[in-house]
Each structure stands twice: as C-alpha cells, then as structure tokens.
C-alpha cells in the first residue's frame, strides 16, 4: 500500500513537463525549479504562472488517491498576493496555457494560508474526483503578484496533501 505520487510542473508552449519537482520557486522566467536569485521579480510585476499537477506514477496496490489540498505558508512581503485557481467552492478545472507574467486569468483567488477544510484541487474536473490508476490531477495554477512598494526577500512556500486508500 504505497502509491507513488509526485508533483509535476508544465512549462512552455510545448508543455514541457518536469517530473517530481524539487521546489516551486517562482520568478521572472517560465521554468521549473528556477533560480529566484538569477530571475527576480521587480516589485510591481508578477511572477510567471505555475502550472503544476499531482502525478500518480504507480498505485502500488492502493485503490484511490483523492482529497487533494494545497496551501501556502510564509510571510509575503508588503502588498504582494499569492493567487491560485485552487478553491473549495465554485471549482472549475483549468486547462494548460503557456504561463504568463501578466495577471493570471486562471488564478483569481487568494491562496489559502493554512490547510483548507476540504479538497481545493480536483481530479477530472471535480473536487470529489479520484485517481484510481496512474495519471494526473487537474492543474494547479498559481502566481505571485507584487506591488511596487514590496521589498525583496519575502517568501511563500507551498504545501501539498493527498489521501491514499488501500
């Protein structure tokens, strides 16, 4: 009973998928595991959107992966906001688009700062959806939008959670 689950990120026009990302660093370039020092965001600008998914590569004898939750922790500086498409109500599945650094049209809700009560990322377009074989969740889209008065060095870190039933 041990499914193998990783977080993957999609980038670029051809949707290059980076599997099992080591971090969710965000910055002024559309790339997975980017170097935020080399690609800083100028205050007042946005980071490039992130398109990430839970990816079940093997069920390992388990029957279902579900109840996906994402949230952030850490202190965003100044008036910066971390926005996402993840939500517990009025959820709609996002489709992949080339990540942009303009205001995201997919990520329009504030990223929760603690564990959500219920699932806020779906499978197959629904928050009650399950992965019962190798496959992907819906896309998690998120972006940090900064303010000209923001200072450098603020952080926001991502947390990912799922339930596994044998």
């Amino acid at each position: 009973m041990a499914a193998t689950v990783e977080i993957c990120e999609s980038n670029g026009a051809g949707e290059t998928v980076t599997h099992d990302i080591a971090n969710s660093n965000m910055g002024a370039v559309d790339a997975a595991e980017l170097d935020p020092v080399a690609n800083p965001v100028t205050p007042g600008n946005n980071t490039y959107e992130k398109y990430q998914r839970f990816h079940v590569t093997a069920m390992g004898g388990s029957s279902a992966i579900d109840n996906l939750k994402v949230w952030r922790t850490g202190a965003l500086g100044g008036a910066a906001v971390h926005v996402t498409n993840a939500r517990e109500t009025s959820y709609a599945q996002a489709t992949y688009a080339i990540p942009v650094a303009t205001d995201s049209t997919a990520a329009t809700q504030t990223m929760p700062t603690s564990e959500p009560t219920g699932a806020n990322l779906g499978v197959g377009g629904g928050l009650t959806g399950q992965l019962t074989a190798a496959g992907y969740s819906d896309y998690l889209v998120h972006q940090v939008q900064t303010d000209p008065g923001d200072t450098a060095g603020a952080t926001t870190t991502m947390n990912y959670q799922y339930d596994e039933t044998a």
Binding site: A22, S24, A166
Partner: protein, 136 residues
C-alpha cells in the same frame, strides 16, 4: 518492514512493503482478514473486507508497543482507513513528508452523515480528525 504480495489488475503479482500501522477485519464467525497477512505473505486491499460479516475493525502498529484500536461495527456502520500524505514547506530546508494513518467509521443516523476519524501522527500522537475534509 517485511514485504507482501498482491495480484494487480494486470494479472501480475506485485510486491508491497508492510506499513507501520495496519488494519485487521475481524468477522463475526471468528475469522479475520489482515491487511498484511503474515500467514501467507498476502497484502489485502480495503475493498476486500466483507462488510456484511464485519464485527470489529482493528488498527494496530506493526512494531513497537502494543496499542490496539478497535471499532466495533454495528449494522450500518462502515469502517474508514486511509493514509494522509503531507508534503510541507516544499523546496525549503524545512521540507518534510509526513504520513498520518487515519481510521474510524461512518454511519448515517436519521439521514445525517456521522463519522469519527482518528489519526496517528508521525510522533505517535493520536488526534481526532472528524472534520477530515473528505466527501460525505
């Protein structure tokens, strides 16, 4: 942890490692079905439990001090068992992956969903997780 085996949907036999906490379905006739069966090395899935005959849903540690949780199953009650994986503070020096072993029961009482879920946390603490966020 010892290794067990199960027959996958592809018809092949697969190996699976034992877990720190596991369930045993105890039936009214005295027979039982363990998630990890040391008698024949078989791994059993949760959906193999015969709910119609289930008397006690038991959860216990594979090693360490004996600490047994038992849910006595009355008609209409359904056992719950899942692992909650939390990958926290990703990409930071504080990143860690923790697993909670969650179990309990669900029943419908007067048309209302009622459930009780406990979670064994990585430090061994047991918490009540009735608001577990799972669909009713």
């Amino acid at each position: 942890m010892p290794t067990f085996s199960y027959d996958g949907p592809d018809g092949a036999t697969h190996a699976v490692d034992g877990e720190p906490w596991f369930w045993i379905a105890r039936y009214r006739d005295g027979s039982f079905l363990p998630q990890f069966d040391v008698r024949d090395g078989a791994f059993h899935r949760f959906d193999e439990i015969d709910l119609a005959r289930l008397a006690v849903f038991e959860v216990r540690p594979a090693v360490g001090p004996e600490c047994v949780f038992q849910v006595r199953i009355a008609p209409g009650m359904r056992p719950i068992f899942f692992k909650r994986h939390r990958r926290l503070h990703v990409g930071t020096p504080h990143e860690h992956h923790e697993v909670l072993f969650c179990f309990g029961y669900q029943e419908t009482v007067g048309g209302r969903n009622v459930k009780c879920v406990l979670a064994v946390r990585p430090d061994g603490a047991v918490s009540i997780e009735n608001h577990d966020g799972r669909p009713e």
